[in-house]
Amino acid sequence: MRKSFAVLFFAAAVAVAGLGSAAGAASEIAINGSTTVLPFAQSTAEAFMKLRPDVRISVSGGGSGNGAKSLIDGMVQIASMSRAMKDSEINDAKKKGIDPVRHTVAVDCIVPIVHPSNPVNNLTVSQIRDIYAGSITNWKDVGGPDKRIAVVGRDTSSGTYEVWEEKVMKGTPVTPRALIVASSGALVQTVAGNPLSIGYDSLGYVDPKLVKALGIDGVKGTPDTARDGTIATSRLLYMYTNGAPAGDVKAYLDFLTSDDGQRYVAREGFVTLK
């Protein structure tokens, strides 16, 4: 166990060193920011580099705030963010002569899911919050059968939890009794196997054969309601550049928002722009 950890560690160190030395004289684009954006930023960057071997893109994820900060400090060409820049950040940027320009690159939508046998079809945001906070513990309080609710959630460090926290919990802590699973796939599996459960997952991962997606405040989660923001749990994902993008940065953003690029967005469970 311990030895294999060491081997992994060593392999990772070698890999990092290799990546560092491989960066040549070609044009370089650095992207930093949201960990939510990271998976498809990474996969589209790889695909783009295959098309344009002369461009090197390095992608890192330190959170949206960090992304904004590195764009303002001129460390990166693109900041990826899961929220719009705050006024304070825009002011800081202006002071340093940076003109942040916003590009919408994908849509993130999280929907509550239950077992297909559950008669409940719709919940309000405050009902969902009470269920996750542990103050509603029985399905009969929200129009279901007289049975306890098994609350299933994601780890606090996941991007999925982040949206849930931002759009539903709004600072209320999730009950410690909630079952916590480690991946989107495991969450669907868990909810599909338990008639008493409620969970939440990215729209792209919800398989209607296994689980039932609930409406929120009467709105069904679909790509359309996610794009126009009528469902309470959707948000747009952005990339910011300094001024209007040009050259390779523009080429990358064009690729990301094209049909080819959006395929990678869909593959990571997000909703595409069109």
Binding site: M1, R2, K3, F5, A6, T35, G62, G63, R148, A150, D155, T156, S157, S158, G159, P173, P176, R177, A178, L179, I180, V181, A182, A186, Q189, T190, G193, N194, P195, L196, S197
Partner: protein, 309 residues
């Protein structure tokens, strides 16, 4: 061989060269073996150093009492709380329950294979036990999540099938081969004379097995049990998939738990390097390491105790 070599050296020829060859013949293998052995120790020391270096800074953020007795594990909320008691309790609970299930069963199984089972079936039993030991833990975890959990939830009408009982049961299966094969080895090593003596004194088969053979092999069995417990403490995949992951102190077997190992596995990937949360996870790694070292020392003490008597 050795004597022949000496004769060659003393009877002449280019003495120095011969002696040198012999010297290199000793030095090279010795050096290689020593450096390989030392690199293992060095690696171990490095890992311990790394764990402590990355784990200790959490004590700047919070106190040791807060970590040891705090009941809330909310590492990323604002303000964060780093209470690890539910996680430690979760680890202890699944380990204890799985040991209670696996140790008696494993020992009886070992006794069956060594003393009851006919010689021809013995090999078959041993091989099938070893095959059980090859089962990857992720496969067991998946069975727990996809097969056992829904059934347990439906049949027992529990809130969820992902709980302490499910995880402990799977851990028990996982450690059973370790306990049974190692116990069997020490039971089989009990001299036939002991058994014969017992029968000669009028002991029944049952008395011979439980009062003589088991007693003679008790040290080996204790070691086997501790090695099983150690595996149970450190196992990650099964508890990550089947234990439920709720950071609460379990009060019933149907409660979900979140052991230390699964917390590290689930949270490390998306934790910013250098944050208090990151250090807290390494601190858990230290805790696990110390538990394992303590169990290891226990095994060594049982072994040396056996030598004295």
């Amino acid at each position: 061989m050795e004597r022949a070599g000496e004769i060659v050296i003393t009877t002449g020829g280019p003495r120095g060269a011969r002696r040198g060859a012999r010297k290199w013949g000793e030095i090279v293998p010795k050096g290689v073996v020593t450096s390989v052995a030392l690199s293992g120790i060095w690696l171990m020391a490095f890992i311990i150093f790394f764990l402590i270096k990355e784990g200790a800074p959490i004590l700047k953020e919070t106190s040791l009492t807060e970590i040891a007795l705090g009941q809330l594990w909310y590492p990323v909320s604002n303000p964060p709380s780093y209470g690890m008691l539910p996680l430690i309790a979760g680890s202890a609970a699944v380990t204890l329950l799985s040991s209670i299930m696996a140790i008696p069963f494993g020992v009886v199984l070992a006794l069956f294979i060594s003393d009851v089972c006919p010689e021809r079936a013995r090999e078959f039993c041993k091989v099938s036990l070893e095959i059980l030991g090859f089962l990857p833990s992720v496969v067991l975890g998946f069975i727990g999540m996809a097969v056992i959990a829904p059934h347990m939830q439906m049949k027992l009408e529990l809130l969820s099938g992902l709980n302490m009982l499910n995880a402990s049961f799977l851990l028990g299966i996982l450690i059973l081969p370790t306990i049974a094969t190692l116990s069997e080895d020490s039971l089989y090593a009990v001299p036939q004379a002991m058994r014969d003596a017992s029968y000669a004194l009028g002991g029944t088969r049952c008395e011979t097995m439980f009062k003589v053979v088991l007693k003679c092999a008790s040290r080996g069995i204790a070691q086997a049990a501790i090695l099983g417990v150690m595996r149970s403490v450190g196992e990650t995949m099964v508890v990550l998939m089947a234990a439920g992951g709720a950071a609460i102190i379990p009060l019933a077997m149907s409660d979900p738990v979140r052991p230390l190992t699964s917390t590290i596995a689930a949270e490390m990937g998306e934790t910013p390097v250098g944050s208090p949360h990151y250090h807290a996870l390494f601190f858990m790694g230290c805790l696990l390491l110390f538990i394992t070292i303590a169990l290891n020392i226990l095994v060594l003490r049982i072994e040396s105790g056996g030598g004295e008597k």
